[in-house]
Amino acid sequence: MYPQLKRGEVVANREIAPGIFLLGVRGKFAASPGQFYMLRAWELDPPLFRPMSVFALEEEAISFLYEVRGRGTGILSRLSPGEELLLLGPLGRGWDPPARPLALVAGGTGIAPIHFAAQIYGGDAFLGFRGKPYLVESFADWCRAVYVASETGEGGTKGLVTEIFRPEGYRTCFACGPEGMLRELYRLCSEAGVPLFVSVEERMACGLGACLGCAILTSRGPRRVCADGPVFPAEELWGDG
């Protein structure tokens, strides 16, 4: 699937938790789990598109989940149904079909690519939130089981997602979330011998692998999050080499 630059029409842009929005765009789009799009709904400034993992893909629509963090996501959050935005994608390398059973582990807005993975691959979901959980019900449509943790104890087990997840019995684990969560998950999965594939975030300029602005250092040398990732085997990122 080659990336394309397309216009899309906003069909919904709903604040589903404080500062967290679910954006639905009408149109025919393509993506495989873990891939992302670069979004833009402004002229010159801010200069860069905003990379967003695909939350869900339907026949005539695509959706993205994002947290308002700065100017770009602020502009996105003010888009109303009927307004247009630019989408560049699908981009990056996502999750290949897994050996099953599959565990899906996500924290916060990291549930976005994990939700799309659930839509395509199914599996058991382990979701962690700081406060009140959101979008948990849409995982129930695709997953065999959904386990929820929140730091406040609202809507789930009180604590971190890494405290409710046990890798034993799974043959693959996909994850996305804060780096601390992913590193702890890597510790758990390595002990249990379960391969872990994580989706990571970095600031991006081109999204196409040209500018090297999003490169991170791995055991295989510098790798571009936009083109070699955003999904990497966790051992490439944090293994002993």
């Binding site: 080659y2 990336p3 394309q4 630059l5 010159l44 400034d45 801010p46 200069p47 860069l48 598109f49 100017r71 560049l88 970095e202 600031r203 991006m204 300029a205 081109c206 196409l208 692998g209 040209a210 500018c211 090297l212 602005g213 999003c214 490169a215 991170i216 250092l217 040398g221 510098p222 083109a227």
Partner: protein
Amino acid sequence: MADLSVRIGEVALKNPVIAASGTFGFGAEYAPIFDPGILGGICSKGITREPREGNPPPRLWETPCGLLNSIGLENPGIEAFVREVLPRMLGLGTVVIVNIWGREPEEYVYMAERLDMTEAHVIELNLSCPNVPGAGLPGAVPEKVAAIVAAARAACGKPLWAKLPPEGDLIGAARAAAEAGASAVTVANTFRGMAIDIRSRRPVFSNVIGGLSGPAIKPLVLRAVYEVAKEVRVPVIGCGGIVGWEDAVEFIMAGAHAVQIGTGSFIDPLCIPKVIAGLGAFLEREGIGSLEEVRGCAH
């Protein structure tokens, strides 16, 4: 269709629009979006004698209408570039400009000699990378520029373009580059800038300083091109903040033979094809036969 072709010393370009070094990879990355063969030329990512891993993240930071970068010359090194990357670049159907960076004149000489054995069309001497210590910092120093250009000139028969920093004695450096044998000067690389994370109270880049590009710097670079074009005999290639075809026309009217587009491609992935089409339409609309008729007309 208007004739957009230009001649930069020994090299003929089908149009004056060149992809700037470090923003267009090795040319193929943008191929899903548009045919890189439409370009007047493509500058490679900056190449060094040995492979370099570049700087740790973050490497990018946005500013109003600007972009700071601290990539740190990540590249596979001259040998892997020549063997694995250059042949593919030469198949793209446009002029291939290999951008090289060295710490010492000897490193430029080594790479120029290596590239002299290849089909690369032009060597662009990066005398201005803001993100690694070396020649050309903190600003343009004519003696250093002259030494590197003269050494590279003696080492190869390829056309040499000197890419200069916008700071320091730019006019002196441009003059020195021309006298030492450069066929053109690229004005300019990014401005040295920085940003501080007020929460961590530290510079955002591990290297502290980054290079500022984008529309924010366009008036500064346009002024620099105007001044250099007035003083220097060799062609000037304008580079800094070009997003629309109107920006490119301004640079040509300031005296540039060609322009390079970098950050513009991040703002709009179709920036380059739009600028090429816009230039052609402008010439036709205004009844201008060639770019030469308006080049430097603002002087």
